[in-house]
């Protein structure tokens, strides 16, 4: 009798395992790695502090500080179901920190018609002072500009037409007009970066590239002689950054990761 019970339990357990492997869709973990280029030439922090890059408008510049926020990794399947990894990551190129973002959440493996992330923060998540880690690194936007957080801090120096070094602060935030009595927001300036369709079978590492030169190129040829500093309170400049940022990021590859 005991032997029969044992055999039954083993069979049941084997059947159980079999059923699991057939019916459950295994989850996969996701990592995003960010690398940086200047029109095809790799850029790291070792290239910083040297006036060696030329923008579309002709000015030569250096990069001294580059960090930006990405959030909301979003996976949409062909049925229209959406998985959002509700997290953010401050990519710090200056210190080569957080270049790889590996959120704790996983998503079901399978076919996705689109993967995207947000450059910056969507408005409803861009609340003033609510993220202690971002407050601790002074990533805030002043409340006189609507509060919340920077999307990007991109600083360096360029050579003026008289060959003098001049600082620039290409800081992207939510476009805001505070010239009147009330703050108004002319348009959203966070950027949804669409990476296209992917099929995820195993844990995956998305290799994302930022072409830094693109921030100065298309559709607005950026003129650093007139747009270099005090750009945060300038909604026109913020909208131009938003427009130029549409094609800054691209997906280089998706690699299986352990």
């Amino acid at each position: 009798m005991n032997r029969k019970v044992c055999i039954l339990l083993v069979l049941l357990s084997l059947l159980s395992c079999h059923t699991d492997s057939d019916d459950k869709i295994s989850n996969v973990t996701i990592s995003f790695h960010f690398s940086h280029l200047w029109d095809g030439t790799p850029v790291t922090n070792e290239d910083f502090n040297d006036i060696k890059f030329t923008i579309e408008n002709g000015e030569r510049l250096s990069i001294e500080r580059l960090r930006y926020l990405i959030s909301d990794l979003t996976f949409t399947n062909p049925n229209g179901d959406v998985w959002v990894i509700d997290a953010y990551n401050l990519v710090d190129v200056t210190n080569a920190e957080n270049l790889t973002f590996s959120p704790e959440s996983s998503i079901p493996g399978g076919v996705y018609s689109n993967v995207s992330f947000t450059f910056g923060l969507k408005n409803e998540k861009n609340m003033d002072g609510v993220y202690p880690d971002l407050n601790s690194t002074s990533w805030n936007v002043p409340q006189i500009l609507g509060g919340g957080y920077h999307y990007m801090q991109f600083d360096g120096k360029f050579l003026t037409n008289t060959n003098v070094e001049q600082g620039y602060n290409y800081h992207a935030i939510r476009a805001v007009d505070n010239s009147g009595d009330q703050i108004t927001y002319p348009q959203d300036t966070f950027i949804i970066v669409n990476l296209g369709p992917v099929t995820l079978i195993n844990n995956a590492m998305f290799q994302i590239e930022m072409n830094i030169a693109e921030w100065f190129k298309n559709p607005n040829t950026w003129d650093l002689s007139s747009l270099n500093q005090m750009l945060m309170p300038n909604p026109t400049a913020q909208i131009m950054m938003y427009e130029n940022g549409q094609n800054v990021f691209s997906l280089k590859s998706v690699e299986s990761s352990p």
């Binding site: 880690d133 601790s136 002074s138 360096g156 005090m230 945060m232």
Partner: protein, 355 residues
């Protein structure tokens, strides 16, 4: 029966002896967690507390005694507290610190508060030391400061009537070494928390700003005027520093390389740690070399006095014009706001004084 009674009696005696011995030699320091101010708790990440040097009542008591004791100097004339006075938010009023033999340093003594929130743990104006414990090593043996040796210091402490007992209470051993000395001092220094300025109270709804202070805050936060917030934080960061290193346009050429001397990277030349703007009412003179005696001098520097150099931070605005060109009213109001960050309770806190 008598046999069993004898055994029980021996057992109880041994227990009694054991308890008695514990009473003499036991090492049971009392944990003393940092009192994290509500604004800090709400706004920023937790402080850095090393796992190998937990805060204890006994460690802090010892650290405080060491901090105020001139015994640490070569000729028993100078304590840490001589250059880091409580009434000056733990700096002093001199431009340069003076060593025991009268020699003058080249840097202004740094104020000491909220040190546990220095997340990168880079200390000194040039960031040359990692961790608060390691920072405390240097002034004791610096020939321009306390000019002692750790052999001498340890010898004096071991021969002292009180210290061996205090070290045993704090660390469980009466043998003393430099590591334990610096650990104790670091524990005390971490308790130096400043969080009760008028502006803190304003943020907590317990005070109101004057019109001048409010406009000064707006100047501070306005990228078109002061643009101070990129380096010094905001109402969302009660530290009022980014604890990073910048060249803020003081000089065209450098006699003191600052961070660059430590890293060896020319791109770091002329960079110094951003000081907190808390407690400016007590911490003059200002800058790493104490060159400015008043807050007006400091504000004028950013408004009209910036000097270009290859490593000047690009966050410095309108360098070609000398700076951001604040109006006289904005300058006065900015000063009023900056002074609202001073914590008058901190400088008289009896926990931080010898009294």
């Amino acid at each position: 029966m008598q046999h069993w009674l004898a055994h029980i009696s021996l057992f109880l005696t041994l227990i009694g002896l054991s308890c008695s011995n514990e009473g003499v030699d036991a090492y049971s320091p009392t944990p003393s967690s940092l009192k994290i101010p509500p604004l800090f708790q709400e706004k920023i990440l937790n402080p850095i507390l090393p796992s190998d040097n937990p805060q204890t009542v006994e460690g802090i008591t010892l650290g405080k005694k060491l901090f105020f004791d001139p015994l640490l100097s070569g000729d028993n004339t100078q304590a840490c507290a001589d250059c880091h006075m409580a009434k000056n938010a733990f700096t002093d009023t001199r431009r340069f610190s003076e060593g025991i033999d009268g020699s003058m340093g080249t840097r202004n003594s740094m104020p000491l508060f909220n040190l546990a929130w220095n997340y990168d743990e880079k200390f000194f104006w040039d960031g040359r030391v990692f961790s608060l414990e390691h920072q405390a090593f240097q002034p004791v043996t610096d020939p321009g400061e306390m000019k002692s040796t750790w052999v001498q210091v340890v010898q004096k402490l071991e021969q002292h009537p009180e210290y061996p007992v205090l070290f045993r209470r704090a660390f469980g051993q009466s043998s003393i070494d430099s590591i334990l000395v610096t650990r104790a001092i670091a524990q005390f220094e971490r308790t130096l928390i400043s969080s009760n300025s008028k502006f803190d109270k304003f943020l907590m709804g317990k005070s109101t700003l004057t019109v001048e202070e409010q406009n000064g805050f707006d100047v501070f936060m306005d990228e078109n005027r002061g643009d101070c917030f990129h380096c010094h934080g905001s109402d969302n960061n009660p530290l009022w520093t980014d604890n990073l290193f910048h060249n803020n346009g003081l000089d065209e050429t450098f006699t003191d390389l600052g961070l660059g001397k430590f890293t060896g990277d020319p791109a770091d030349n002329g960079k110094f740690k951003t000081p907190s703007l808390r407690n400016l009412a007590f911490t003059a003179p200002y800058m790493h070399d104490g060159r400015f005696t008043t807050l007006e001098d400091v504000i004028n520097h950013y408004s009209e006095g910036l000097k270009h150099s290859p490593t000047i931070d690009p966050l410095m605005k309108k360098v070609a014009q000398g700076g951001v060109q604040l109006s006289a009213q904005d300058k006065a109001d900015l000063k009023a706001f900056l002074l609202s960050l001073s914590d008058f309770e901190f400088v008289i806190n009896p926990d931080f004084n010898t009294q």
